[in-house]
């Protein structure tokens, strides 16, 4: 397609206007009209997004409720689904494969359950994020709102889903002898940082998925690979015993591993600081801020192009 020049380049003789002789652009400028569908500045975009916070929250809650509304047990599935998930992983990795590698049952089972839930939070944020625009084209083409509302709303839905899973997590932890203590307060900052990281990731894949919907097909394989290298079912320290320090550290700074390990450290009594890489909080903060800020700007840059068929 060759682009003809606009902005004054096109004569608009067809317009029956009293402002005879003006081009469309000049006429628009004269009367203070703005280009429809143009991308707002970053500050204006953030302001608009803040104005839509009620919509973002309501949309995420609606999606969450709608998920199980046809089931007989209804919202009970919010808790039952993660519980069954944990059960399956325990059966395969704990009973059949003995992935615990010397960890006692009291540590390994909460370790596994926490890992599965925390990783699922990131995993499903990415999965819903990649389809946030491409799967909601009807909405994008019918109504006006900052498009970042959609990926953010979907991550928020996953956060609420995780809060339900936390109920199961607490029950399992207490059941295996890790009782609530001051360390449990660390859960709040961990969740917050992971939510920021997930949202940034969702924004990035949402833009990519809007351009190339095929990513939705590819993503499960990428995510599964990521899961197996993040130490969800095994401890990276124990698995990599005897390997070089560098290799262990490289696996440990993986953001998914960082948030999982921090959550385990907060929750499980027998999982001490020795399992964490040095500067773990700084790493967690870095991933959250860098990915969120980067993802937000990256998404905003294509704002005016979402919805093109």
């Amino acid at each position: 397609m060759s682009h003809t020049t606009h902005d004054g380049g096109v004569a608009v003789s067809a317009i029956p206007s009293p402002d005879e002789g003006l081009t469309a652009a000049q006429l628009a400028a004269t009367h203070g009209l703005a280009v429809s569908g143009a991308r707002p500045s970053l500050a204006e975009y953030i302001r608009q997004l803040w104005g839509r916070r009620h919509f973002i929250l309501a949309f995420s809650q609606a999606k969450l409720t709608a998920q199980y509304s046809q089931a007989k047990l209804g919202q009970l599935w919010q808790v039952a689904t993660p519980l069954l998930n944990a059960g399956v992983y325990y059966f395969i990795f704990g009973v059949i494969l003995h992935a615990s590698r010397g960890m006692s049952q009291d540590v390994y089972i909460p370790f596994l359950v926490t890992g599965v839930f925390v990783f699922t939070f990131t995993q499903s944020s990415v999965m819903t994020g990649v389809r946030a625009i491409s799967g909601n084209l009807g909405l994008v083409r019918a109504l006006h709102f900052p498009r970042a509302s959609l990926p953010i709303s979907f991550s928020l839905q996953q956060l609420q889903q995780l809060l339900f899973s936390m109920i199961v997590m607490f029950v399992v932890a207490i059941g295996f002898g890790s009782y609530p203590g001051p360390a449990w307060l660390l859960i709040v900052p961990v969740l917050l940082l992971q939510f920021l990281f997930n949202t940034g990731l969702a924004l990035i894949v949402a833009r990519m998925g809007a351009k190339t919907p095929d990513l939705a097909q590819l993503m499960p394989f990428v995510l599964r690979t990521w899961m197996y290298t993040s130490g969800v079912m095994f401890s990276i320290n124990k698995m990599m015993e005897g390997r070089s320090e560098l290799a262990v550290r490289l696996l440990q700074v993986n953001p998914a591993a960082v948030y999982m390990d921090l959550m385990r450290y907060a929750l499980i009594d027998g999982y001490g600081a020795a399992n964490l890489p040095p500067h773990v909080w700084a790493i967690a903060l870095f991933w959250a801020v860098a990915v969120f800020a980067g993802g937000f700007v990256y998404f905003w840059k294509a704002e005016e192009r979402y919805g093109r068929g």
């Binding site: 397609m1 402002d19 569908g37």
Partner: protein, 286 residues
């Protein structure tokens, strides 16, 4: 909200602006000649993946990826040029009908004016934020009517207080609760007519600067149709400019004072309602 203005930009073109209310109306028009929507040589192109020929096979898809760098046509991306070089200026107080046969680009043009579809070439300038009458896409069948009223209102950009204020109005207008307490049931349990009535009621609850209506008049039973036509006339009074897409020449005659006739994505005629409709009816053989 957009400023209700035109006076503050006087400095840019001092020779032409004469008063705080913008241009004095020229001899031909009684309406205030302040433009609200300007379309400038607008082109809209849809891209459809993998729609070339009948062979939607894996090999075809593969060759598409291999030929990535080359021309889009060669990769099997079909382009549908839905709107081709449309230019017009709409003024405050006008009600503009869009007519044309199916697939002539009417709805696409509306979406482009609303800024919902990016333009391939050309530009649309608007005063304030034009909005499309319709919230269907934001509603969820698995939620109760009640929650959908709130969700739909928020999606249209209303505040929680505004929704609370209008909630009863919306429910009463839809008539959903006339036959029992249906508003607390999921929307999937509604008949298609009931769902359409609720959707229209939610959509029509908001006031708009530039309002665009896409065949919204055809929902519900006779009583509801009359009620919704009434509501659209009200909205027209409040809105600066109204666009109406319809295949019903009578409702165009009733509501519009200007008509744009689109055919194959091109603007075939633009003028007063009677003039254009006469030609259009000749064309369609009525």
């Amino acid at each position: 909200m957009a400023e209700q203005n035109a006076g503050h930009d006087a400095g840019q073109n001092a020779g032409r602006i004469t008063g705080p209310d913008g241009e004095p109306a020229p001899a031909q028009g009684a309406v205030d000649r302040r433009p609200t929507v300007i379309a400038d040589n607008l082109h809209i192109v849809y891209r459809v993946n993998g729609a070339r020929t009948g062979k939607g096979s894996a090999t075809a898809a593969l060759s598409r990826i291999v030929k990535r760098g080359s021309d889009e046509a060669a990769r099997g991306v079909r382009k549908v040029h839905a709107v081709r070089g449309v230019s017009f200026v709409a003024y405050r107080g006008e009600a503009i009908g869009l007519i044309g046969s199916n697939g002539s680009g009417k709805s696409t043009l509306l979406r482009a004016i609303a800024g919902l579809l990016p333009a391939e070439r050309g530009k649309v300038y608007t005063d304030g934020q034009p909005s499309l009458l319709g919230v269907n896409a934001a509603l969820m069948n698995d939620l109760t009517g009640e929650r959908n009223v709130i969700l739909g209102g928020l999606a249209m950009g209303m505040s929680r207080e505004q929704i609370k204020e209008r909630y009863q109005e919306i429910v009463d207008f839809s008539g959903i609760n006339e036959k029992g307490d249906f508003i607390t049931l999921p929307m999937r349990t509604y008949s298609s007519g009931m769902a359409a009535r609720l959707r229209f009621s939610i959509a029509a609850a908001k006031d708009h600067d530039v309002l665009m209506i896409d065949e919204a008049l055809a929902t519900g039973d006779r009583t509801f149709q009359r009620r919704s036509e009434e509501r659209i006339r009200e909205l027209r009074k409040e809105a600066g400019t109204v666009f109406l897409v319809s295949h019903n020449n009578k409702s165009i005659r009733d509501t519009c004072n200007r008509v744009l006739w689109l055919e194959r994505g091109e603007l075939r005629m633009d003028g007063p309602t009677e003039e254009v409709l006469k030609e259009y009816e000749k064309f369609t053989g009525k």
